[in-house]
């Protein structure tokens, strides 16, 4: 017992030294947490806001927020660009040290973790959360409470070469999973085609390929308080995924970074990815002298089975306000402003980040591109992964099993059983 006391004393000293001050509500705040946070007032906003954003967003954001500063001249915004590689560590460190920014861009899969650390301010009721895509809204809810808002979104669709598909006798992509696989096999028969479709054979992020197949069969991979990776629907989806490698329609050891090259030269005429691949493959083809590549391919929704609804993975980034902010009103006003449809369209023009607000998709900038409009359609049914703090860890365990399915013929049943056992021993972290 004495040792325990000493231990607590030791860790506490450090923690206190790090955070500067203790928080009185401790870890017990979850139970009484409000559905939405206190209302904010937008009158007389003033002061400084520290904003963190990653990648291209961090670079472009200062130009965008100039509009906000015009509207509220008393508020000045300081944007700090953070590199993606070190972003997660930087956030965790700043949360423990009590040096968080006021507003930050937050990766969708970090929400559970940060909310679990009591770092985020619940979304005030004045922000209408129904304006966002349902899947995107799902990424900001932790145990029934919203923390922040979806900022921009992306989802995955099937890219396919229309010219090779029609050679193989397909004018459209079948919407059922069995028919879809037959199409991939038929395309593989065509001249110059090595593999029917490129699917990620396990390793980091492969769940983003497999889980949509399960969702599109009606599977749920988690309930409110537990992981449910071992449902019959998920087993069937994993077996379906494995059969592509089994029947050698997909390469279990694909060379790295060749997606654009093999898609444009037709040797792998299908893959599953997000909207950013449109400009990548078109630019790649243009470099090779193929200026009109845009008309040679199209995108199609994730195929379904057993009467399920086509449901892809929704990614993107959220915006959060940190609980330690000293300028809560201005922080939320900025977040609200960033999720106005007009601002979102402007942001799309600047960075090609897709709006999380459904109303913004009515704008011409987004409706005139047919492929993009299809992404907009897929977004309405796209789903988010569980928002448990331990999701990233469980996803890694799931990815490891998917690799065995793709490369070692592990059965779907065994794979999801192992993944579920690991998920249970890791726990939801709540």
């Amino acid at each position: 017992m004495r040792r325990t006391t000493l231990l607590v004393a030791l860790t506490t000293t450090t923690a206190l030294a790090l955070t500067g001050c203790g928080r009185d509500d401790g870890g017990a705040g979850d139970a009484g947490a409000p559905q939405t946070g206190e209302a904010v007032s937008t009158d007389d906003l003033s002061g400084e806001l520290e904003v963190w954003a990653m990648g291209a967003e961090g670079e472009a954001l200062p130009d965008l927020v100039a509009g906000f500063e015009e509207q509220y001249p008393e508020v000045s915004i300081n944007v700090t660009p953070v590199p993606w590689d070190s972003a997660h560590d930087k956030f965790v460190n700043s949360i423990t040290a009590g040096t968080t920014p006021d507003v930050a861009m937050i990766g969708t899969t970090w929400m559970g973790e940060f909310a679990g650390m009591d770092a985020l301010d619940p979304t005030p009721g004045s922000i209408d959360t129904s304006k966002f895509f349902e899947g995107a809204q799902g990424t900001i809810e932790v145990e029934g409470t919203s923390y922040g808002v979806p900022w921009y979104v992306e989802t995955r669709m099937v890219y396919y070469r229309t010219d090779i598909a029609s050679e193989a006798g397909y004018d459209e992509v079948p919407t059922d999973q069995e028919g879809f696989k037959e199409m991939a096999a038929a395309m593989q028969e065509q001249e110059g085609v090595d593999w029917g479709i490129s699917l990620q054979p396990g390793q980091t992020g492969s769940w983003q390929t497999v889980v949509p197949f399960a969702w599109s069969r009606g599977a749920q991979i988690a309930t409110e308080d537990a992981y449910t990776l071992d449902t019959p629907e998920t087993v069937a989806a994993v077996d379906y995924f494995g059969s592509f490698f089994d029947e050698e329609i997909s390469d279990a050891n694909p060379p790295e970074g060749q997606t654009e090259a093999t898609f444009t030269d037709g040797s792998v005429p299908m893959f599953v990815s997000g909207p950013w691949m449109m400009s990548l493959v078109e630019d790649f083809a243009a470099e090779g002298g193929e200026e009109d590549f845009g008309s040679m391919y199209d995108v199609a929704p994730i195929p379904t089975a057993d009467g399920g609804e086509s449901s892809s993975f929704i990614g993107g980034s959220n915006l959060g306000v940190f609980a330690d902010t000293e300028n809560r009103d201005a922080a939320w006003a900025l977040v609200d402003w960033l999720t106005q449809p007009e601002t979102q369209v402007e942001w799309y023009d600047m960075t090609s980040a897709l709006p999380s607000v459904q109303a913004a998709w009515d704008d011409e900038a987004l409706t005139e591109d047919e492929k993009l409009a299809k992404f907009g359609e897929q977004l309405t049914t796209a789903q988010a992964p569980p928002s448990f703090p331990t999701w990233e860890q469980v996803a890694a365990a799931f990815d490891a099993e998917m690799e065995k399915v793709a490369k070692q013929d592990l059965s779907g049943e065994e794979a999801v059983q192992t993944a579920q056992q690991q998920a249970e021993s890791i726990g939801t972290g709540q």
Partner: protein
């Protein structure tokens, strides 16, 4: 420096007694002593804050169930004794990582040392006219960034267009997918690590070889010893401390095998190249601080044992 030698000359323990005994000592020595402490203070402070304290803290973490969820609520941390250590033994991925690390050390250390010694001898005996060029060439991989090295090796090992498989194809061998195969990924990383690291060992061996007295070689030659006998009975005994030093430092480095799998394979395929350090790193990044701290102390323990064994078996013949 002066303060330290002054203290030693008196033969008194320099630390705890200092304050107590100050009055009975000549005032000059005391001032000298105080200056000594003052001069070492910046180091002691930095050492304490950035080395000693983290070590103490991580030892405590390793006997708790702390995760990143506890960072803001430290009162919830539970003392779990050696549960985290026990967990490691039942963790299939860590067991795999430990085996991979052992494989890497058992093959990599002798290989690196043999190549380093061979290169050092070749350079020392002057079989080439361009010694400096070779010395530089062999040492260049050591100072090159691992990321740059990784890019180049990835090109070399590319199954379709890589130089390695192209050369193998000339002699009719169908080369494997080096980094994508569970059998070949580890040998590929060992080859890369050996290539990258032997330069350090070579430089140290070279210094050791240059310290071998030429007269001994000449005397042995007059007695009729051939080149191998001279190497075996003259060079190796003189070189023994160098060999010990190189084997200890190389083994410690290789037991912490991290960068190669981290940049080349991410531990894959199928965990065939994941190392103990890399798995520890993963656990830290998942926020399992208690478990990760326990894993790092297990690695520390193994390093201590291996080093002790090396001292026992490589240095005993010296006296």
């Amino acid at each position: 420096m002066a303060a330290v030698t002054g203290t030693r000359r008196r033969g008194a323990p320099p630390t705890r007694e200092a304050g107590k005994a100050r009055s009975s000592r000549p005032p000059g020595a005391s001032r000298e002593e105080r200056a000594g402490w003052l001069l070492t203070l910046p180091f002691l402070l930095l050492f304490g804050v950035f080395t000693a304290w983290p070590v103490i803290q991580s030892v405590f973490f390793s006997v708790t169930d702390i995760t990143n969820r506890d960072l803001r609520t430290p009162f919830q941390v539970n003392f779990v004794a050696f549960e985290q250590y026990a967990k490691a033994f039942g963790d299939p991925v860590f067991r795999k990582a430990a085996l991979n690390t052992a494989y890497f050390v058992l093959v990599g250390v002798p290989l690196t040392m043999t190549i380093a010694l061979a290169a050092a001898i070749a350079l020392n005996t002057g079989i080439t006219r361009f010694r400096a060029v070779y010395r530089l060439g062999f040492y260049t991989p050591v100072i090159t960034s691992i990321v740059a090295v990784a890019v180049v090796w990835r090109f070399l090992l590319n199954p379709d267009s890589g130089l390695v498989n192209t050369v193998l194809a000339w002699v009719g061998i169908d080369g494997p997918n080096w980094l994508g195969s569970t059998t070949w990924a580890m040998p590929s990383l060992i080859a890369m690590a050996t290539w990258r690291n032997f330069g350090t060992a070579m430089i140290i061996f070279l210094a050791g070889l240059q310290a071998v007295p030429q007269q001994l070689h000449e005397a042995a030659a007059i007695d009729g010893a051939n080149a191998w006998q001279r190497f075996r009975n003259v060079t190796v005994p003189v070189l023994r401390p160098t060999i010990l030093f190189v084997s200890v430092t190389t083994a410690i480095g290789y037991l912490q095998f991290f960068e190669e799998p981290f940049v080349m394979t991410q531990g894959g395929p199928l965990n065939s190249t994941i190392s103990a350090s890399m798995y520890t790193y993963q656990q830290f990044s998942f926020g399992n601080y208690g478990y990760a701290a326990a894993l790092s102390y297990l690695i520390f323990l193994v390093i201590a044992i291996v080093t002790a064994l090396q001292f026992r078996f490589l240095s005993e013949k010296e006296d």
